[in-house]
C-alpha cells in the first residue's frame, strides 16, 4: 500500500473524523498549520488533540470549537506567553469546556515511542514526586521484574490520525524531512492513518544531513501544500515568522478579535 497523493481538502475530509484522537506534530519546526486550518474549515468536532507543544494552531483549533480534549506537555506561545484560547477554554469553558490530560515532554515522547512500537505502554524514569501524578490517570507505577526497582509507565496514545508537515515527497509518496524532526516519525508510525503535507513533490529525494525518510507504505496520504508550516518554519524553504507569533497574542486575548480573525483568515 503506497501513500495516495491528493489535496489537503480531500485528505482531511477522508482521514479526519469527528471524535478522532489526532496529533498534528511539530516541535517548533515544520508545524502543520495549513492542515489545522483545513480541519477548522471542515468543522470537525469533539477531537482529542494530542501534541507535546500545542502552540498557536492548537489555540486556533480550540478557539474554533474543534476540540473536546487536549493531551499535551507544554502549552504556550513560545517566547511570547500564554495560549489565550486554551486558557479561556480551561479557565472559563469557552467556547465549551476542554478536558486536559497533562504530561511532561519525556512522558509524551515515550507515549509516542510506545505508539510507534505497537506497545500498550513505555517505561521511563519520571514524574516521581510531582503533582502531575495526582491529576493524570495515564501515569502508573511499574516494577522491574529483575531488580524490583519502581519505575513509571505511560500508555500508547491510541492515535487515529497523525498529521505532519515535511519538506519533500517524491511521486511515489516517500516523505523526506530534515533538521529538527521532533517526534514526527513516531506520530506517523503510531497512528492508524496519516497525512503528510509537503513543501514540494519532487522526482527524486536527494539525501540530506539529519534526514528522516518515511517510506510511502507507512503513510496514508501526501498533499503538496507550499508554505503549509507558516508561521513556523521549514528548514531550507523559509524562516519562522516571529512577528506572526507576537501578533497572535492580542488577537487571541479577545473572543471577538479571535472570531473576526477566524472568519477573515481561515473560514473566508
Amino acid at each position: 500500500m503506497s501513500a495516495k497523493i491528493t489535496t489537503l481538502r480531500d485528505a482531511v475530509a477522508e482521514l479526519v473524523h469527528d471524535g478522532d484522537t489526532i496529533a498534528l506534530e511539530g516541535f517548533t519546526h515544520l508545524i502543520p498549520v495549513a492542515a489545522g486550518h483545513e480541519i477548522i474549515r471542515q468543522g470537525r468536532r469533539d477531537l482529542t488533540l494530542v501534541r507535546m507543544t500545542p502552540d498557536i494552531v492548537y489555540d486556533q483549533l480550540i478557539g474554533a470549537g474543534c476540540a473536546r480534549k487536549l493531551v499535551f506537555s507544554w502549552g504556550g506561545n513560545p517566547g511570547v506567553g500564554s495560549l489565550h484560547r486554551l486558557r479561556d477554554a480551561v479557565e472559563n469553558g469557552w467556547p465549551h469546556p476542554l478536558e486536559i490530560e497533562e504530561h511532561s515532554h519525556a512522558g509524551m515522547a515515550n507515549r509516542y515511542a510506545a505508539s510507534a512500537a505497537g506497545l500498550p505502554f513505555a517505561v521511563m524514569r519520571g514524574y516521581t514526586g510531582t503533582d502531575l501524578v495526582k491529576h493524570t490517570p495515564t501515569i502508573a507505577r511499574i516494577t522491574c521484574p529483575f531488580t524490583g526497582e519502581e519505575l513509571t509507565a505511560v500508555p500508547n496514545l491510541g492515535l487515529d490520525v497523525a498529521i505532519i508537515h515535511a519538506q519533500r515527497a517524491d511521486r511515489k509518496g516517500n516523505v523526506q524531512m530534515w533538521g529538527l524532526t521532533g517526534v514526527q516519525k513516531e506520530a506517523v508510525l503510531g497512528a492508524r492513518r496519516s497525512l503528510v503535507t509537503v513543501e514540494e513533490i519532487v522526482d527524486e529525494l536527494e539525501p540530506m544531513p539529519n534526514q528522516v525518510v518515511l517510506p510511502s507504505w507507512v503513510v496514508t496520504a501526501v498533499a503538496e501544500v507550499p508554505g503549509g508550516a507558516r508561521p513556523s518554519y521549514a528548514q531550507g524553504y523559509y524562516d519562522r515568522d516571529n512577528d506572526a507569533y507576537r501578533a497572535w497574542d492580542p488577537i487571541s486575548r479577545d473572543r471577538e478579535a479571535f472570531t473576526a480573525w477566524l472568519k477573515s483568515e481561515v473560514l473566508a
Partner: protein, 248 residues
C-alpha cells in the same frame, strides 16, 4: 556604567554560574540567553543541549526558540526528541539543567502548571515541558527567575518539578531522583543557594546596590541570609554588549 534591564542583570549573573566544559540543558527565555552568553564569554567549551534534539549547538545568534533551525545546523549531533529524553536526559548525562519557573518555594520545588485549583484554575500556565525530568536527572539545576512575592512562595500550589520536597533529609533519594536538584536560584536581586543542612534556599549574594530589605520584601517566605552575603559585581560593558549583540 551602562544602564541595563532587570532581565539583563539576571541573564548575565546566570551566565557567570556556568563552568566551562560542562554540559547544560537549555530552555527558552533567560536560561537560553544565559547559556549562549556564557559560551560567548568565559565558557567557550560549554556544551549546549536543547530538548528539540540539538546536542552541542553553537548558534552565532540567540535562537528564537528551542527549535530554531540554527541549533540543528550548528550542533555536533541531532537526535529525535524521544532519544533526547531517553538516552541523554534520563541517564543523567547532562551536568546542569537551567530552568525558569512561575513559582518556586523555599525548598526549590517548581510550579509551571497552574495557579489556583487544578480543575478550575485562576491562571493556567504552560505546563511541565521537559522540566520534571530535567530537575530529576540532571547533575544539578540552576533556576533563573525574577524575585517577587508572587513567584517566591512559601509552598508552590502545584509541584511540577521536584526540588527538595518538604525539606526533610533524603527526600530526593527516597523518591529515587538521581540528580542533586536545584542548587541555585539566580534573580534580579542576587543569588540564593540551597543550605545543605536544611535544604532551604538562603540568600548568599546580592547584586551591587541591592539591599537585604529589598530581597526580604520580594520573597514570600521568611528569607534567611548566609553568614557572609557576597556582593555580585554589576554587568560589565563587555557582557552587556555581547548579550545585546546576541539578540540583534
Amino acid at each position: 556604567m551602562t544602564d541595563f534591564a532587570p532581565d539583563e542583570l539576571l541573564t548575565i549573573a546566570a551566565a557567570r554560574e556556568l563552568t566551562d566544559g560542562t554540559t547544560t540543558f537549555v530552555g527558552i527565555g533567560p536560561p537560553g540567553a544565559a547559556a549562549n552568553l556564557a559560551q560567548r564569554t568565559h565558557a567557550p567549551n560549554l556544551v549546549l543541549v536543547y530538548e528539540s534534539g540539538a546536542i552541542g549547538a553553537k548558534p552565532d545568534r540567540l535562537p528564537l526558540s528551542i527549535g530554531d533551525g540554527i541549533l540543528g545546523e550548528t550542533a555536533d549531533a541531532v537526535v529525535t526528541v524521544p532519544e533526547m529524553f531517553n538516552y541523554w536526559v534520563q541517564p543523567g548525562r547532562i551536568d546542569v539543567g537551567f530552568l525558569g519557573a512561575a513559582q518556586i518555594d523555599r525548598y526549590g520545588n517548581i510550579n509551571t502548571t497552574v495557579i489556583g485549583d487544578y480543575a478550575s484554575p485562576k491562571v493556567r500556565l504552560p505546563g511541565a515541558g521537559g522540566a520534571p525530568e530535567i530537575a530529576a536527572n540532571c547533575g544539578e539545576v540552576i533556576v533563573i527567575l525574577r524575585q517577587s512575592k508572587r513567584a517566591f512562595v512559601e509552598r508552590v500550589e502545584f509541584v511540577t518539578s521536584v526540588g527538595h520536597g518538604d525539606g526533610s533529609p533524603g527526600y530526593r533519594e527516597r523518591l529515587g531522583l538521581r540528580g542533586r536538584g536545584p542548587v541555585k536560584i539566580i534573580t534580579d536581586l542576587g543569588k540564593l543557594e540551597v543550605d545543605p543542612e536544611t535544604r532551604e534556599f538562603v540568600m548568599t549574594a546580592l547584586h551591587e546596590g541591592v539591599t537585604r530589605e529589598q530581597a526580604i520584601e520580594a520573597t514570600g517566605w521568611e528569607l534567611r541570609f548566609a553568614d557572609d552575603v557576597a556582593t555580585l559585581p554589576l554587568p560589565t560593558a563587555e557582557e552587556l554588549e555581547t548579550l545585546r549583540s546576541l539578540k540583534a
